[in-house]
């Protein structure tokens, strides 16, 4: 690490884009580039086949899957703010059974590097779901969603207790088949990121996904109550980028495993900033709603941008301490 950190000064002569190496390895899984789609922002990876090839992405992180299908929360579910979105979708998803039956075979056929986002209601459920997944092809890893603010049970409750983060991660790692990677997605809310990241690392995570949405609220002034029935909702998009950068910085200084930066990424500059803050890869969420091919564009722009800066590998951008 220290060697990589010292190189990559701003004065490097430009390179040819073909000299740039975008590959990133997470827990023994090699990915061709460090740009993924974030959970909840690109469905199950199969929704835009008429526009772009999902196999060109570093990875696709699926909508979070639960054991049983979920209907999600009542309307309103989404509000647009000048600086981002507030959402309260409530983990609506098809459930694990339908996912492995209907989605995984197609993901395998299209050679998508799928990271399956998982949420459990009980501590053991995460490992049980991995057990079920291990009978099927079509995925390269899992991301434990220990950070959803939009469900009454699980989610944030698990994700704010470092002991639970560690034990859930450990159980998941114990049943994870060889050759698959284990990401743990953490919340920026309530608990220091360093504490949570260390807990996940101690439990055997291969990488930290950082961050899930920030808890937020919108008020209906006329009605004198919150807009969302649950009160709180998840804040995402450009407005959370500074928060995400700070959390990525904190996490990457606390652990030795890779950190995957998430939060408000929309441009190639944003991607580079996350690398400087200590991320090894990034996920694009909210920005995909306006442009579903945005992550694909970022991959192309990334090679060109790094070459122009004379940077051979994203890791060289990381700031010194």
């Amino acid at each position: 690490m220290s060697e990589a950190r010292s190189s990559g000064s701003a004065s490097n002569p430009p390179l040819d884009p073909s000299q740039v190496d975008l590959r990133v390895t997470i827990g023994g899984v090699e990915l061709p580039n460090p740009v993924f789609t974030a959970s909840g922002a690109w469905g199950y990876g199969l929704e835009y086949l008429d526009l772009v090839d999902p196999a060109r992405l570093g990875a696709v992180v699926t909508k979070t899957i639960t054991v049983l299908p979920r209907k999600g929360n009542p309307q309103p579910r989404l509000r647009e703010l000048p600086t981002g979105l507030l959402n309260s979708i409530g983990l609506e998803n098809v459930g694990l059974g339908a996912f492995v039956r209907d989605k995984l075979p197609r993901l395998a056929r299209h050679e998508v590097r799928t990271v399956v986002s998982l949420a459990g209601r009980r501590e053991e459920e995460f490992a049980e779901m991995i057990g079920e997944l291990s009978h099927h092809e079509g995925w390269v890893g899992v991301e434990l969603n220990l950070s959803c603010p939009n469900v009454a049970e699980g989610g944030l409750d698990f994700g704010t207790d470092p002991r639970l983060v560690e034990s859930i991660t450990r159980r998941a790692r114990a049943v994870l088949p060889d050759g698959k990677c284990l990401l743990v997605k953490l919340t920026p809310n309530n608990v220091p990121m360093a504490t949570l990241a260390r807990a996940a690392e101690a439990g055997g995570a291969h990488a930290i996904s950082c961050i899930n949405t920030v808890v937020g609220m919108e008020i209906d002034l006329d009605a004198r109550r919150p807009v969302f029935p649950r009160g709180i909702a998840g804040y995402s998009g450009v407005g959370i980028k500074p928060i995400a950068l700070a959390k990525v910085w904190e996490a990457s200084h606390a652990v030795d495993i890779p950190v995957v930066g998430i939060g408000g990424i929309a441009t190639v500059r944003d991607v580079l900033e996350f690398f400087v803050a200590g991320a090894s890869a990034v996920q694009v969420g909210t920005a995909l709603f306006a442009r579903p091919d945005r992550a694909h564009r970022l991959i192309e722009e990334l090679a060109a941008e790094l070459a122009a800066r004379g940077v051979r590998r994203p890791a060289e951008l990381r700031a010194g301490d």
Binding site: D50, P76, L81, A290, R291
Partner: protein, 294 residues
């Protein structure tokens, strides 16, 4: 039930080639854009002004698309619609289209189709009407409701029977009149306002658009009723249709982010309430028996 037809969508930049105010703060917008699939009545486009726009694109029903020209009818209600309505000619906007499920026009063949539209709900039904007429079908009743005369997009209303909630100030039969026949002189917008008048040949009446619906459906028991407009209007019309036992189709609106079934922000309960449907992909056109609506 009709199977959903998955059409190839196009995500591209389009040039604004026309903009004209047809009614108060409501614009006919023409975009130059090649789409890879034809657009059917009820389908919509996610449109995103690239400069000074909102974070997310906005959904707009397609009024017409032919020869690389996409026509929308956009009412200004907030930042997104205003940005689109005021994008100068020659500037570019992002278009993602066609999206959603159209009216199953094949199922309507040979049956009297009754259209009830309110406000910008006119757009999908205007297209449905022109598709039906173009294929030789009859559309015996096309009803359009608006609050005031200033909301009438004159040139789109040929062949529509107009219902106004408020009597126009220049109503020919004087204040307090509740009906006006087309023959008796059409109401016009206040002079000097620059707003269009009701179309010649159209019929105008003061009262809710659902006023005569029951009567119409009683005489046409095999009718198909297609609705698009404000929620209260659609619900009232849908109830009448259901009571008369005719087949009812509604074209719905919901807050959208992706327009593609991905973000799950536009969901409504399916019939029975156990599962959800997306307005953007399972709809926006629904048969009344698919959803928990009235």
């Amino acid at each position: 039930m009709t199977a959903r037809i998955m059409t190839k969508r196009t995500l591209t930049d389009a040039t604004v080639t026309g903009r004209r105010e047809l009614a108060h703060h409501a614009w006919l917008i023409e975009l130059e854009v090649e789409l890879e699939a034809p657009v059917r009545a009820g389908q919509f486009a996610m449109v995103h002004p690239l400069e000074a726009g909102t974070l997310l694109p906005r959904p707009f029903s397609v009024l017409d698309h032919r020869d690389g020209r996409l026509k929308l009818y956009v009412k200004e209600v907030g930042a997104g619609s205003r940005a689109l309505a005021h994008t100068p000619l020659g500037e570019r906007v992002q278009v993602f289209a066609p999206l959603g499920r159209s009216f199953p026009i094949e199922e309507f063949r040979g049956r009297p189709v009754v259209l009830v539209a309110g406000g910008v709900g006119l757009v999908p039904l205007w297209k449905l009407r022109s598709e039906l007429l173009a294929s030789g079908e009859e559309v015996p009743h096309s009803l359009f409701g608006a609050r005031t005369i200033e909301e009438l997009p004159g040139e789109l209303l040929e062949g529509w029977r107009i219902h106004l909630e408020e009597a126009p100030p220049s109503a020919p039969s004087g204040e307090g009149s509740s009906t006006m026949s087309a023959g008796g002189g059409l109401p016009t917008a206040p002079t000097g306002s620059g707003l269009p008048t009701a179309p010649a040949g159209g019929e105008v009446e003061v009262g809710l658009v659902t006023l005569h619906l029951d009567e119409i459906l009683r005489e046409q028991p095999d009718a198909v009723l297609a609705l698009c407009g404000p929620d209260a209007m659609m619900k009232a019309a849908a109830r009448i249709g259901r009571q008369r036992g005719v087949q009812v189709w509604v074209c719905l609106e919901e807050q959208m982010a992706c327009g593609a079934g991905v973000c799950r922000s536009c969901t409504i309960p399916a019939a029975g309430g156990r599962t959800m449907k997306t307005v953007c992909q399972d709809g926006p056109v629904f048969s009344l028996d698919e959803i928990d609506y009235v």
